[in-house]
Amino acid sequence: MPKTVAKTEAEYVFVKIPKSLLDEVDKAIGKHGYRSRTEFIKDAIRNLLREYGVYRSESE
């Protein structure tokens, strides 16, 4: 259990997002085959980074 907490603090940053937007994400998760909100958001961020020419490997 403590290991999980330590991993979360070290590897994740907490960002404030409007609840209404996250509600829309929750609705889209099931429809588009994502397992979680985090997975959807990681994918969305990578896509936009790619659009701006920032290379991200698929292995992440």
Partner: protein
Amino acid sequence: MRTSLLLEKHLKKQLLEFMEDREEPFSISLLVNCCLQPIPATMIRDMLCKLVDEGEVIRIDDERYMATRVLMKKWLRQKIKRNEEDVNFDELEVPRNLFKEISKLLRERPELGYIDESDFIRDAIRRSLYRR
């Protein structure tokens, strides 16, 4: 003539400074009473009319006035407070390495116009939602 213009300019400046310090509406009699030197009420009234014409002061009703700048500040403060209250936020976890990539991009390309990382993430989510 020149002295009169200088006096008028001085009075205008002093009145405006006094009015912009007041958060609440004021009347002409209050302005007259607050003047350190005796100034005729008609002179103050004329100056106030001039300031109303110039948009520096707003006439609220028959007796009360307020400086436009003070009114704008009050309105903006209330509006900003209302907007903050209207939006409910939720915390979202983002992998630190992705967050660092965003920070780097925002530093290198300020022309993209993002305010901060959270602004970028919100845009990424919206684009992803609308693309589908």
